[in-house]
Amino acid sequence: MRDNMKRREFLAIPASALGGTLLYTLAREPFRLEAQEAARESATTQEASGMVNVPLRFFTAAEARVIAAACDRIFPSDSSGPGAREAGVVIYIDRQLAGPYGADKYRYTKGPFADSVPEHGYQGKANPRETYREGVVALGANFDTLPVEEQIQKLASMEKTHFFQLLRSHTIEGMFSDPMHGGNVGMIGWQLVGYPGPRMNYKADIDQHFGAEWRPKPASLEQIMHRRPSPWEDEKS
């Protein structure tokens, strides 16, 4: 296992995707982040202007670019709204893998390991970290530079794998989990679907607004509680 404290890997992300300049949208309203295309063009060059270096906890920069590209295909940025790139999903996944979840601290991992019926779920030995390392190899080191259509074909050929199923779940999680986990940057995922965050009280509204869309402005747990939460991935092992 790598020593996270000594790592010096970073992922360069367009500053525009790290909040501040994000547009506020209502659910289902067509949305297009300005400079999105330009940002994608420059995402592989760390020196590009307007880029921010985000320290990685698990991935190498090259691995992060491959995973980020795959997440883009699962939850693309397009005319229906922003996607995994703007939400910083790869940062979310990086932190999950670096934490206890990535090391299977909360999965039963005693042997013997045996194949079984689908109703018994994933029975393998590999933990999420190992599954991702293998997955990056399967995608190919140049995956992020392939044309979009080729990326889609490659992922489609892997749909049934445990890696793909994890990646798909994690992409949705990174889109819509509280920003404390590293994704859903600027609550862009919550804005996209009209989720207001963990607001404490709807007593006056639960039986109102029948049949009409009601979308309070999103707030994160930290904004609501005025305290910094302790996400599980930061747990000391």
Binding site: A27, R28, R73, F75, P76, D78, S80, G83, Y101, D104, Y106, R107, Y108, T109, K110, P112, A114, S116, V117, E119, H120, G121, Y122, Q123, L155, E159, R168, T171, I172, E173, M175, F176, S177, D178, M180, H181, L192, V193, G194, Y195, P198, M200, N201, Y202, K203, D205, I206, D207, H209, F210, G211, E213, W214, L221, I224, M225, P229, S230, P231, W232
Partner: protein, 583 residues
Amino acid sequence: MTNLKPVDVAIVGGGWTGLAMAKELVTRTSVNVVALERGAPRTTADYAMDMDELDYNIRLRMMQNIAEETITHRHSLQDAAVPVRQYGSFHPGTGVGGAGEHWTGMCFRFLPEIFRLRTHLTEKHGAERLPADLAVQDWGVTYDQLEPHYWYAEQMMGVSGKAGNLRGKLIDGGNIFEAPRSHEYPTPPLKHSYASSLFEEAARKLGYHPYPTPAANLSESYTNPDGVSRPGCSYCGYCSRFGCMIGAKSQPSNTLLPVLRKHKSFELRTGSWVRRIVHENGRATGVQYTTANGEEFFQPAETVVLASFTLNNSRLLQLSKIGTPYDPATGKGTLGRNLTHQIEGGIKIYFDKPLNAFMGAGSLGRRISDHDGDNGLTASDGLLRYGMLSLNGNGDLPIGAFGAIPPGAAKANWGAEWKAASLQWRDRVSQLNMYGEHMSYRHNYIDLDPTYTDKFGDPLLRFTLDWTEHEHKQRDFAYNLASKIAPAMGAKLDTRRPSHGKYNVINYQSTHIQGGVIMGTSPDTSALNPFLQHWDVPNLFVIGASSFPQTGSGNPTLTVLALTYWSADALIDKYMKHPGRLA
């Protein structure tokens, strides 16, 4: 191993049953009581920072650490069992309050015939027409005997709802199919959500009798008979798998602990993992436990109350070699028999209007019991028993709710087309939920796994469990019911009919695992007598849903509590005066 000073009563488990029993003991007698809880302490103040879907609803931060202990499962005697490596079709809790902290709060009384189901079915159909492998039994206790204890539990929690049968008088708007209750609910029903209001109108229009789901989420501020005050629900939508940050959802930590804390005769010892009930010559002498830092203790006790979750109640008796393990080949032996898993399942319905479904409360909703038990079933249904259908407004969270789309709306479950469809249908999807009785069968049971072990090296429990035709027909019945109600709500029913697949350990169903240490009228067919006292070890009481010979259609917690109070009366009023077998 360190020998500790003896206590009068040692209770294994600090959840609903353990703390309810402890409260009766220390408030009504002079005995001293120690409750041993393997998990950590908890208070309401802990929960405000926990409103996080990822850590609590997806990663299940409040559950037992499955890396340390799990179960194994196989579908039949012929199959090899493998471990359940991640949760899961059910979610065992840990820590003070146990699963009672992260539950949803649904509070049902069972139908009277559930407690005498073998007799009921035999009277109705004739013994020869019942399936040969049906293992349902009479409990040895009646609804009438439990009624005051149901009421006591409802008052303790302040259950919200509307009576449908008050001492025999049927009341419109309540559940007119319920058994007679002695009192109206302590607090009025929770408010409607948009979807639940549509369900109520539709069900009424079709001639059914919708009623508010009885809820341990308080509808208004309430002070219980113990003087414990709590506020009404704020409909934040963070109930199931979360602790309530304002204490509106009844939990052991906000109802029972405030009383217990005032009593010096009660001690709650957390981080104490009980690994054996020690016994000799037909008497329990105490319990052996291991602390988080690996120290081992023996706690001697006059009486032992085993009050942990269904799984651990079974496992501790198996590991301690108390009782005769059940043998499915011969039908002999009592420990491990009658494993059941109350059937819950959702059928998706799609609306053309937004539902604002992010608001909600665990048990907010309306339901119909027009086909509960065997009410309204005909021969062509091919069913002995069915259950209820409901619409729950428990609050959609954004990760879990995303991607619910009608079949055919996208070719893949990822990519641009799927994303656009998911956004289009976002907040336009709800569910009709079935709650079905799971009857017990000879081939569904619990024993110890021969291969896999927990973190100490002790054998895991092994489930042998699969669905039968009857459960598939129950799900089909629910789907047919939903196909009438959905259009009346102005919604489109999902065209995918319920699966007739095998039991699945991964897809969440409910945390209502029952049986394994069942109560009954004979030591040949039950581990416990009707007072939840062990037939073989009279100073051992085993309380919890492990004692159910079969399930009701409703969630078990209220019945678990009613049985705890029933057993507490027997322990305090009879056993402590004249120790010995109560039956």
